[in-house]
Structure formats: C-alpha cells, structure tokens
C-alpha cells in the first residue's frame, strides 16, 4: 500500500511538472473574477471592501469548480481509472492521493495570491489572516466534497454545468462558515466558532469523503 501511494504521488507530481503551465490556470481565473467584479462595481463606495470576502471566496470556489471536472476525467478517458478500479489497492486511498495533488495545484496557488486579491478589492488588512485561515480550512473541504460529485459525473461526457449544479448546494455550508467567519471577524464578533466547525467538517471529510467518492466512482464509471 505504501508503494501504491508512492507511485500515485510520484505520478501526479511528475504530471504536474510536465504540464506546469496548466497549474496557473485556476489562479488566473480567480484573479479575473476579482478584476471583473472590481470593474463592475463603484469602487469608491465602500461596498467593494464589504463584499471582498464573499467575492474572494466566490472566486476560489468557482475556479475550483471549473477545475473539478479534470479531477478524474483525464484518468477516465485514457483508461487509467479502469486500472484503479481493477487494482487490489483500496480505491479510496487512490482517490485521496488524487484529491490531495489536485488541491495542491488548484486551491493552494489561490491561497498564496489571496493577499493580492484582497488588496485589489481593498479588503482591510486586519481581515487578511482570517481570510487565509478560512481558505486553508475550507478549500480542502471543497476539493473533498467536489470529488464525490466529480466521481458521480465521471461517465458523462460534457458534465460542466451539471457538475456545478450538483456541487454548489453541497458547497453552501463551507462558504457560509468560510466567508461568514471573515465577515464576523470584521464585525468584531468571535469567529473561532466558525473556524472550529470548518476544522471539524474537514476532519470528518478527510475520513469519509474518499470512501464515498470511491463508491461514487464505481457507480459513475460505466
């Protein structure tokens, strides 16, 4: 099992490295969403700064959503997925490794540039640590729950919008606690509760989501 994890990790890291240009796409997309929002709003009214946490969270979420389709699709199309399904290794473990590398290439870069995004939207600096903290706890959750949806739709050829429709209701709690915690902190309320709940959800998802996604994969792949 250790060998399998090592092989999967090495494989994904190599693939990321060979296509390192693609890894920039999610962060560029998030940046564009933020810029477009800033262009569409009256920047001097203060509404922008108030909307900033919601917009940055929305940007991270939408860009993760766009990337979600690629989570298993490539492996499904070239037959790698079939080999996973036939492998004696626990499928949930393979899924977990895949989700981890996917999070690293899609969500982590956005977290890294989130101070920049905050600056663009005039987010008060005091809220930045809260924003980063909530993203760090929330985005893995997005990836884990997204994996279940991606697995269910892996057999459908052009799943884009359907994927979004299915995933977004499931994303609501994450967004509510994630962006909500920043808003709460801005109002001087105690936001640690929201972060704790996010952490608890993350801990649970880490255990449950790969297993559920593995079941969904067996259902979704004809």
């Amino acid at each position: 099992m250790g060998a399998a994890i090592r092989a999967m990790l090495l494989r994904d890291l190599r693939l990321i490295w060979r296509k390192r240009g693609d890894a920039l796409q999610p962060v560029l997309f998030a940046l564009l969403v933020v810029v477009l929002f800033a262009l569409g709003i009256d920047t001097h009214s203060g509404a922008m700064a108030q909307a900033a946490p919601a917009v940055i969270w929305l940007a991270a979420l939408l860009s993760g959503l766009l990337a979600l389709d690629a989570l298993f699709r490539g492996d499904a199309e070239d037959g790698s997925l079939e080999q996973w399904l036939l492998s004696p290794q626990p499928l949930a473990m393979l899924v977990a490794v895949r989700v981890f590398t996917h999070w690293m290439t899609t969500a982590l870069p956005i977290i890294v540039v989130s101070p920049l995004l905050g600056e663009l939207l005039h987010l008060p600096h005091a809220q930045l640590p809260m924003l980063i903290g909530s993203l760090l706890l929330g985005t893995p959750l997005l990836s884990l729950i997204g994996a279940v949806v991606a697995a269910l739709t892996v057999g459908i050829r052009r799943a884009g919008a359907l994927l979004a429709l299915i995933a977004l209701p499931l994303y609501v709690p994450i967004l509510v606690f994630g962006a909500g915690s920043v808003v709460a902190a801005a109002q001087g309320l105690d936001a640690s509760g929201a972060l704790l709940i996010l952490a608890a959800m993350l801990a649970m998802s880490l255990v449950v989501a790969p297993v559920v996604a593995a079941i969904a994969l067996r259902i979704g792949w004809r």
Binding site: R6, A7, L10, R14, G79, L86, W221, R222
Partner: protein, 212 residues
C-alpha cells in the same frame, strides 16, 4: 462444455447482463482451466467487450455466479487475480514508457521475477524507455499495455482484441506472450473477430451470437 479433472481456474454459471433492459447476453456457462485459453468470438456488437468488462467487475452482472478455483470470487480475490487489457490504453501520455510501467507496478503489483526494463525489451520497446507515451504510435502503445500485463502477477488475463492495431510482428508477439503465460499456469480470455491467428495453445472457444 466438458469439465476438466483439475478444478477450473474460473467457472461461470448463468451469467447475464442487460443494458436498458436490452439483454446483451443471458445464462452464459463456461469454465477455463489453468494452462488453457478461452477464445471469445463473435461479430460486431454481440457483447464480447461487455462480457470481459462484466468478468472484470467493471460492469455489474444481472445474474449468475463466478467461482475461482472452486471458491467464491469476492472483490479482493478478483482484483488480485485479474489483469485487463481493454480498448483504452491506460497510460498517461505525459509520462514516459518506463514511468508508466512504474505506476502500474505500484498499483497492480509486479511479478518478483520480472523487471521493467526486461518487460520493455520483451515487447519490442527497448530504447523507448524515455519516450513520452503520447509520442508512441498506436501499435507501440498497445505494446506498452502488453508490457504492463507481462509485469502483473495476476494469473488470469482478460484481453479485449489484443491483436487490433498491431502489425504481423505484433500479432506474433501477443501469441508468444499468451503461450508463455499459459505455460506458467496462467489463463487468458481473448476476444477476437476471428480474422487474426489464434495463439498456438490449448484453447476453448466461446461463440457468441446476437439474441433474436
């Protein structure tokens, strides 16, 4: 079909599968023993691929029973015993030939007596270790899949049209690999349209035809 004296490696009783309530096949019976191959033959669309995918567990059977070495075939035993070569190559185009084999050895296991370089050699890909899979030609990709099979410890090979895309040399190579595998006590299920040469080994035939 007659039953051999040794317990069959795989025996199938009353297997049925339907898609959207269209029966693809029903109540299929056959057995395969170690050291013999089963040729699954039939025209376009009779369900050969479907049968192999059902056996591999990629599609759920509607009815029927599979037994291996006389025992039940649960998920773990199936995964350890079956190696599948389907229409999809199962390689990442952006990994090299040997990196791809490393991955599959990690996932599917490796026969301790076989090495990656030797396997590439065996299928006629020596010198291509460092070529990205997406730069291989269709026939070379097929050979890479054969190398994966060759490395796998599974005794039962499910080969879906292994001869397709290959030139005459390649067809001969498949036959050699099957023969060697059977000599080792393995078994192979091979689907074919019948246009290609069968491997020169003890074979049974399963002729499939469209249900009326």
């Amino acid at each position: 079909m007659s039953h051999p004296s040794e317990p069959a490696l795989l025996s199938v009783h009353g297997l049925g599968f339907s898609r959207n309530d269209e029966t693809i096949f029903s109540s299929l019976h056959f057995t395969v023993a170690r050291g013999e191959a089963l040729l699954v033959q039939g025209g376009n669309g009779v369900g050969k691929t479907t049968l192999l995918r059902v056996l591999a567990g990629l599609l759920p059977a509607d009815s029927g029973e599979l037994r291996m070495d006389g025992g039940d075939l649960d998920h773990a035993r199936r995964a350890a015993a079956f190696a599948y070569l389907g229409h999809l190559p199962g390689h990442k185009g952006d990994l090299t030939a040997s990196e791809n084999l490393e991955v599959s050895c990690g996932l599917l296991g490796r026969r301790p007596d076989r090495r990656i370089e030797a396997a590439l050699d065996r299928v006629g890909l020596s010198g291509y270790d460092d070529q990205l899979a997406r730069h291989l030609s269709a026939g070379q990709k097929k050979r890479l899949s054969l190398a994966r099979l060759w490395l796998s410890p599974a005794p039962l090979w499910l080969l879906d049209e292994p001869y397709a895309n290959l030139d005459l040399d390649g067809i001969e190579l498949v036959n050699q690999l099957i023969r060697a595998h059977l000599d080792d006590g393995g078994t192979a299920l091979v689907t074919t349209h019948g246009a290609y040469a069968a491997p020169p080994v003890r074979t049974r035939q399963l002729l499939m035809a469209r249900a009326p």
